[in-house]
């Protein structure tokens, strides 16, 4: 189609060898047809295109999020972490976590829970000696996070770079790790993490079923899968307004703020292509999760799906 041409030209520019490779590979594993927004492409092409999209938007990603959602995305992410309700000592894997929004919120939450715990402990130990109290301050300071840790995993180097810079800027250092990895093939061992989150990332994954299976694999027994993602709006009036806003306003914002119409056109189309709540719930159950449920936010513009590895 028309949309494919500029991308094919890009590919050619990258060198004839790569093109030839793509051509031969296309006939084999990457032969499966899939979608990129409203276009039809092969799986390999889709992965490449999405990589390019995020490579180009990385620096303006947060600014664009704020302007597109009028800042409401912050509330959505807060609700996600509140729903998670992590206790100190939780090991979180944030996939497609790019610029670190979920990771930072997790650290803040765990820190405040830990402080409350320490306060409660001190109230109970009213009859300690001065020395014992001083000792407990020492050991509590060294464990301000209570051994909680978050690993941010993203497939895109640019997004990770922006995330690391943000962490440095905001002063987050302890309990935070950055790993380059593909959600369809995570570089982690089995049964490692307490919680797996993927916020606004799973619709960019080419093989969602593989990502869900990987999520199941790396979670500990009893671990929780949480997915925050755009979903289908059932209310017809809201749906019409939402479509209007998505297709008319967002790509324009993308051009004006980030200088990139096509990426934001892709974003809006990919939201429409993502399966609705019930279908996604069935996919999560197929991967082996139990007690799968979803919560609609803003009448279905966004949904949080949750499942447990039991």
């Amino acid at each position: 189609a028309v949309g494919l041409c500029p991308y094919r030209a890009l590919l050619a520019r990258r060198g004839g060898a790569l093109r030839a490779l793509c051509g031969s590979v296309r006939g084999l594993a990457a032969g499966a047809e899939t979608h990129f927004g409203f276009q039809t492409v092969t799986e390999a092409e889709r992965r490449e295109k999405i990589y390019r999209v995020f490579e180009s938007v990385a620096k303006k990603y947060d600014v664009m999020n704020d302007s597109m959602t009028l800042g409401i995305h912050r509330v959505w992410k807060d609700i996600l972490v509140h729903k998670m309700n992590p206790t100190p000592g939780t090991l979180l894997l944030d996939v497609a976590g790019g610029t670190g929004d979920i990771a930072f919120r997790f650290i803040n939450y765990v820190r405040s829970v830990r402080e409350r715990q320490l306060q409660r402990k001190l109230r109970h130990h009213q009859n300690l000696s001065w020395q014992e109290i001083a000792e407990s301050y020492e050991e509590d300071k060294s464990k301000s996070l209570g051994d909680s840790q978050v690993v941010v995993c993203d497939i895109n180097k640019e997004m990770l770079k922006v995330g690391k810079q943000k962490a440095q800027h905001l002063g987050y250092s302890k309990g935070l790790s950055w790993v380059l990895g593909n959600a369809e093939e995570l570089p982690f061992d089995d049964d490692k993490f307490d919680v797996y989150t993927i916020a606004f990332g799973i619709r960019n994954v080419t093989r969602i079923d593989l990502a869900l299976q990987e999520a199941y694999r790396v979670l500990k027994p009893g671990g929780r899968f949480l997915c925050l993602e755009f979903s289908q709006v059932s209310n017809s009036l809201l749906s019409r307004l939402y479509d209007l806003y998505s297709f008319q306003v967002i790509p324009v914002l993308g051009e004006v703020i980030a200088g990139d119409w096509k990426s934001y056109q892709y974003l809006v189309e990919s939201i429409r292509r993502f399966p609705p709540q019930e279908e996604f719930k069935a996919m999560i159950e197929d991967a082996g999760f139990f007690k799968v449920d979803y919560q609609n936010l803003n009448l279905g513009i966004v949904a949080i799906h949750s499942g447990f590895k039991l």
Binding site: T90, P221, A287
Partner: protein, 285 residues
């Protein structure tokens, strides 16, 4: 690794933890059947038939196959394990998280439950009620076998309420918190239900067979006694809660007297009316 035929909805993978539980449950079965092998040759050898005879668990939607425990049972096990952490953490999601950890699950499993700890409290109350029923059942059996005397009603009620309230003693410090959570609007239907069925049980074993309005008055009265005694127990600091049991004794005695008083009032009322009628007749003559 055994290949189990999973139900069609769980096409790809069977669960990790639920199967493990059924393995644990097989072991006591295995050991007991080996011990009794000579006496009961019809017992299945565990090695030959790993899917031994097992009561089928009624899952909610019939999704779980008969050999696995259901999600509900796993939830019950987590809540039971969480009870031992209640004195320290209160009736909270933290206690549930600690409970999950003792079962080898991640603390994130506490996310299956409401974050205010409601399910933990309701589970505990339901467990206590079950224990009380069993206790009363055993006592009744002893009476039927003639090994014990049948208690008079007021003593029976006193003992039953005391036994039930004693189950709260390990958690007494955090029980006021639990009571307030049980009063939250979304918990009231369940907590009232549990309370009503417990009171019903006590009256049943007390031998109440009334089919008239007494059925309601008896239950209302006992509910009142139970609730007030529970509240008194919250603030009681006497050794072994003596004050509470004395309060209970007085309330039960009051309730018994109330029955007599009602009859007395009625007969007095009739007598007064007759006297008045007689006076009226005398005056008219």
């Amino acid at each position: 690794v055994r290949c189990q035929p999973s139900p069609p909805r769980r096409a790809l993978q069977a669960s990790a933890v639920l199967r493990r539980v059924s393995d644990e449950q097989k072991e006591p079965l295995a050991s007991s059947s080996q011990q009794q092998f000579d006496a009961h040759p019809t017992n299945h050898q565990p090695e030959q038939e790993p899917q031994g005879p097992r009561p089928s668990y009624t899952g909610q939607g019939g999704q779980e196959s008969e050999d696995y425990e259901s999600e509900e049972q796993l939830q019950h096990r987590i809540l039971t394990a969480a009870l031992e952490f209640v004195p320290e953490h209160g009736w909270t999601a933290e206690a549930i998280a600690e409970g999950a950890k003792t079962l080898g699950l991640s603390a994130a499993a506490a996310g299956m439950f409401h974050s205010d700890g409601s399910e933990l409290i309701l589970h505990f109350v339901s467990q206590c009620n079950t224990k009380l029923s069993e206790l009363l059942e055993q006592e009744q059996k002893l009476v039927q076998l003639g090994e014990a005397e049948k208690k008079p009603t007021d003593q029976f009620l006193r003992d039953a309420v005391q036994a039930r309230l004693r189950m709260l003693i390990p958690y007494i410090e955090k029980w006021p918190q639990a009571l307030s959570i049980l009063l939250l609007p979304h918990n009231i239907p369940s907590s009232l239900n549990l309370l009503a069925s417990m009171i019903d049980d006590i009256w049943h074993y007390a031998g109440d067979q009334s089919t008239d309005f007494n059925w309601y008055t008896r239950r209302a009265v006992l509910t009142g006694i139970y609730n007030t005694t529970e509240l008194v127990m919250m603030q009681d600091s006497s050794p072994d809660f003596e004050d509470t049991w004395r309060f209970l004794e007085n309330r039960v005695a009051d309730a018994m007297n109330m029955g007599n008083t009602a009859n007395q009032v009625q007969s007095t009322g009739e007598a007064v009316v007759q006297g008045l009628m007689g006076a009226a007749v005398t005056v008219s003559n």
